[in-house]
Symmetry: C4
Subunit: 289 residues, 4 copies
Amino acid sequence: MGSFRGHALPGTFFLVAGIWWTVKYSIWHATRRNKGIGSTRLASRASQRRLEIIESSVILFFSLVGMLAEQFGSGGPKLQLYDFVEKHWDHLHSWHHATMYLFFGLFATVSLIIHTTEAAPLALDRLMLAIAFFNEGFLFLYHLHGRSMLDVHVHLLLLYAVFGETLVAFLEIFHRGNIILELLRCTLTVVQGTWFWEVGFVLYPPRGPEWDLKDPNNMMFITMCYSWHLAFAMLIVSVLYCIVSCAVHSRLKKTPPVEMGLLKARERDPESEDELMSRIRSKAHRCGN
Amino acid sequence: MGSFRGHALPGTFFLVAGIWWTVKYSIWHATRRNKGIGSTRLASRASQRRLEIIESSVILFFSLVGMLAEQFGSGGPKLQLYDFVEKHWDHLHSWHHATMYLFFGLFATVSLIIHTTEAAPLALDRLMLAIAFFNEGFLFLYHLHGRSMLDVHVHLLLLYAVFGETLVAFLEIFHRGNIILELLRCTLTVVQGTWFWEVGFVLYPPRGPEWDLKDPNNMMFITMCYSWHLAFAMLIVSVLYCIVSCAVHSRLKKTPPVEMGLLKARERDPESEDELMSRIRSKAHRCGN
Amino acid sequence: MGSFRGHALPGTFFLVAGIWWTVKYSIWHATRRNKGIGSTRLASRASQRRLEIIESSVILFFSLVGMLAEQFGSGGPKLQLYDFVEKHWDHLHSWHHATMYLFFGLFATVSLIIHTTEAAPLALDRLMLAIAFFNEGFLFLYHLHGRSMLDVHVHLLLLYAVFGETLVAFLEIFHRGNIILELLRCTLTVVQGTWFWEVGFVLYPPRGPEWDLKDPNNMMFITMCYSWHLAFAMLIVSVLYCIVSCAVHSRLKKTPPVEMGLLKARERDPESEDELMSRIRSKAHRCGN
Amino acid sequence: MGSFRGHALPGTFFLVAGIWWTVKYSIWHATRRNKGIGSTRLASRASQRRLEIIESSVILFFSLVGMLAEQFGSGGPKLQLYDFVEKHWDHLHSWHHATMYLFFGLFATVSLIIHTTEAAPLALDRLMLAIAFFNEGFLFLYHLHGRSMLDVHVHLLLLYAVFGETLVAFLEIFHRGNIILELLRCTLTVVQGTWFWEVGFVLYPPRGPEWDLKDPNNMMFITMCYSWHLAFAMLIVSVLYCIVSCAVHSRLKKTPPVEMGLLKARERDPESEDELMSRIRSKAHRCGN
């Protein structure tokens, strides 16, 4: 992974994940708000479930690909952990990265089980996501031994987003469906994605001169860059949210409300009282102002 | 910003903001408590919204002025980020400060959008405020490289207020309209305001002798000063709260309750059930004692 | 305060406060649980309020005494902050201690205002208590410059109790009347009290040999002592809670339930719906097991 | 405890505790979910209470055994704290370990009292558990003075699980019966158990060569091991949860629903409204997706 491509790949992955999550949660939030004008067609529980299953499968697939690439790519350990000839651990960096992918794979597996069967409580997927992000940050933290100042700094900055996502995903166990927390998680995922690209450009510049890794001015500049990435991520998430909201709103208006009765009868599920509860709660959040 | 004026200006800004917020939340809380004696006239949802829009516009305006002043003021970078002649980053401190203003500008923009349209969830303004404060603290943290002991110390003390406000604003996402949290945020904003002035006086004394920036006794004194600033801010916020409460109370008593029925019919909004909910919750908080 | 007596006095104060709070909250909790058998006589809202007023007055009185003693006691600064002759800050330690007392005085003042008038929201007293403890810990933190290892260590251990109390008091803003949090706060207050005594014995042994302040073994022993103090405080609080519970229970049984109707009619207050709410909530906490 | 056996014993204890808790909470969660098909027989309140009493007694017994073994085992201090001949503290490590066991003993005692009598609020057992774990971590933290790098590192890694459990147990005071938090606590307990074994193997290898305690590569490898232990613990807890869920489900189906009416009449307790509340809440958590 010590290359430009090695940082651009996970960066792209997180960027796509962040954008996809923004679109998904925006659609669900918009349809929930417009409940009563035939929204069930766009975001029925069944279609939500199908979407979650597809998403989990894709994440699981890429986790497996990531693990295999780390192991069997050029310079990978090929499942060999200890070099008995030279008596030292072999390719620990690749093993670290494979372990990170492993936990995202576990998250995807559990999410798949939750949404295909009724075996496990729903909130478990957020706990698994929190653990996956925590594990990523935890391994990064003990990954930086003996590197130069700027190298350590750019990786430590990444931890703000990673541990931020851990916290947000953990809070979502108790506040599932809170659009604020969901959008915050999306934003931090986008930040992670673009920051991986930035790290690649700084440490392995594909063209142009090398960066001086010991200059404190570079460190101050890079810190400010992180703020800009955050602002940029907020912009992307906001624009996506607005586009999706408008699209859902205009589409729902066209749907003749006559269909609703039919759909409702067919798709009404035993959990409808939750929704009432959640709507009361989310409204209660708006009050006091 | 490395001057007395450079600290006095943001100090004044935060001081005014803290005082204004105290007045605003005190009025709203007082009218909510006196509900039933014609309070709707003083704090109807429509007038609240108008107030929020004016406030956001003012913050947005000053953020833009701040950014322009940092860029084009004397000794500013004039939008030039890299000095290609001498091959180093140009005026990074000014860029840092402009970035801080940028995030407060983003907060104001989002707040403006929330209160003029129905596009975004209400709690988003608190999240943006939390992010703006977090960003301010985050940049300060990596801003202090190579300064003298007391200089670092006075800036670190500022971070207690800044990160405290981040936490409080984040909690307000879940506990919107909680007067305790609102007054705590006001207090910390006033502390920030007066502390900026204090920093100006210590680092760039307008008259009198320079401070010895390496004396541990000065550090101990400054720490105690911070406590005094906090006590002073608590005093200001308390006095304002009491004055506003009394004023609202005495004014509402004069309003003939006959009007109420008319107003209620006209201004009742679809969110009235939230208020019931919030009043039950806030009452539940008072119990157990 | 750099003496055995200077540590024994605040220690006694916190010890008494912790024991008193345990008794108070135990009585209230016991009467709440036995509601329906004439408990209103023991813990009516009016008598609770009277108790709070007395408590606040006592705390306010001792804070004032503490401040005056620090200022005008032997070796105190006598309100002089700066020694203009020798050009240094005068008696900063005494000023620090006086500032700590000041914040407990502010807490008592606000509590007095809350319980004598209806001016401020009830939860404000917990916020003021949290701020008072925070300020104590904050000043201690910057108080230890240049002391020997064990001296620093015993003061840092104190901060676990102090910041623990800050957190608990802050949580009580949202969970007022939660007996678990209240007892935890009582326990930590007792720990603070006994630990002040311990610090006095270690740093200024009234008889016997001096401690070696640089021996790591002493540090390990002192750390374990802290655990023992915690266990001891838990024991005291538990025993007090049991005694009070039994006493209240046996006394309420003797009260003829006939009186109840009369009392209820007279003392029923407009907040009775809160109590219902809180009882539902506290019951909900017991479920799931 | 400075031996392989000294780490394997507590490791086994935590491993067994983690597995037992997983089984217990899985059974209770499964029966709660299947309410309405005769589940009361498997998990009535009375049988739950009996189970808690047995569990607490076992923990209390092992805590006492642990304390006695630390004191009177070979090389133990035999209740002697200070060696007056050589003038130093005696066997402080054994005393530390005995103190850790003491707090788990206190937890068990309180839990016993709560479930045999009605004296104390139910949530107190989670607070005591949180304090027991906190105390374990707290003593470990000041236990590592002067050890070699890898020795310190493996003990610090343990603290992630220990303080994680502290946090989760503390959260359970407010969210009792939340299956996600319960399973997370189980997972962390299993991690603690297996990690104690790992520490034993690394520091006191029963056969094979010694580890180089100063090699940074070993540190990186050990960090990754911790992630693997976490993944392994998650696997164990998941598999147990699934087995128990299926077993309960299949067994409840066989029970003829005719009995239910009889059981319900006999076992209905005054807290049935809590359960309604908790079911509404737990359902509300599932919504929004």
